[in-house]
């Protein structure tokens, strides 16, 4: 791994920022696995299955791009002993997951 970002080291022995970053990585992996299943679905249902596949990929990319910032914020939050909750990330991910399952439902019902 690369060096930790400057000024963002924290003292939390519970390693909360690391664990939270890992949780996001695991979620991104789950999205990628789900996306690949949608791609396999394309054999059965054709190109309409490509849409949820692309949504999964897009969300995974967004998570990946924001990882570093997220880790820095978490580290600073531990160090400063306060952190803002992140309703935007939570809402976006929940909405994306709902959209993905809705697209899946659509493919099942009309395919």
């Amino acid at each position: 791994m690369s060096h930790p970002p400057e000024g963002a080291s924290h003292q939390d022995p519970g390693l909360q920022p690391e664990r939270t970053t890992l949780a996001w990585i695991r979620t991104m992996l789950a999205l990628l696995v789900t996306s690949s299943l949608f791609l396999r679905w394309a054999d059965v249902h054709g190109l309409i299955a490509v849409t949820p596949f692309l949504v999964c990929l897009l969300v995974s990319l967004l998570i990946h791009l924001s990882q570093r910032t997220r880790h820095q914020r978490a580290s600073r939050g531990i160090r400063d002993e306060r952190i803002n909750a992140n309703p935007r990330a939570v809402g976006t991910l929940a909405l994306a997951s709902i959209t993905i399952s809705a697209l899946g439902l659509l493919v099942v019902l009309i395919g």
């Binding site: 939390d12 519970g14 909360q16 920022p17 664990r19 939270t20 949780a23 996001w24 695991r26 979620t27 789950a30 999205l31 696995v33 789900t34 299943l37 949608f38 396999r40 679905w41 054999d43 059965v44 249902h45 967004l62 998570i63 791009l65 924001s66 910032t69 997220r70 914020r73 978490a74 600073r76 939050g77 531990i78 400063d80 002993e81 306060r82 952190i83 803002n84 909750a85 992140n86 309703p87 935007r88 990330a89 939570v90 809402g91 976006t92 991910l93 929940a94 997951s97 709902i98 993905i100 399952s101 809705a102 899946g104 439902l105 099942v108 019902l109």
Partner: protein, 138 residues
Amino acid sequence: MNTSEESSPLSDSDSGDTPMATQRGLFRAGDDPDPRFTLANERTFLSWIRTALAFVAGGIAVEAFTQDLFPVTVRQGLAVILLLLGMLLAGGAAVRWVRVENAMRTHRALPIPLIVPIISIVSALAAGALALVIALAV
């Protein structure tokens, strides 16, 4: 100020003293919880999202990979149930996150997740139904 801080919808909100408008509307006034609890709440939300995605993946798998095993209606029905559950779990995860964050801010007891007993019962029923279908098909 780093201009890339606000660019991605999934990066953290501003860590300054002024809470964002969404937070003012979303959370009741109260004390900021220990940052470790906020992070733990976020990780729990992510765990629920991954569970929801597992149900979605299961729905896709049942629909796409069991062509010869089940009749069409059973296959589609199972797929729809699993996908619907995935959708409900994803929405419930966000609701749970807000409720827990509010409970922490106002020093109340954390809400009991309603989804846990529901999932257990539904999973047991689904497994039982699956066993029945396979036994009848043999």
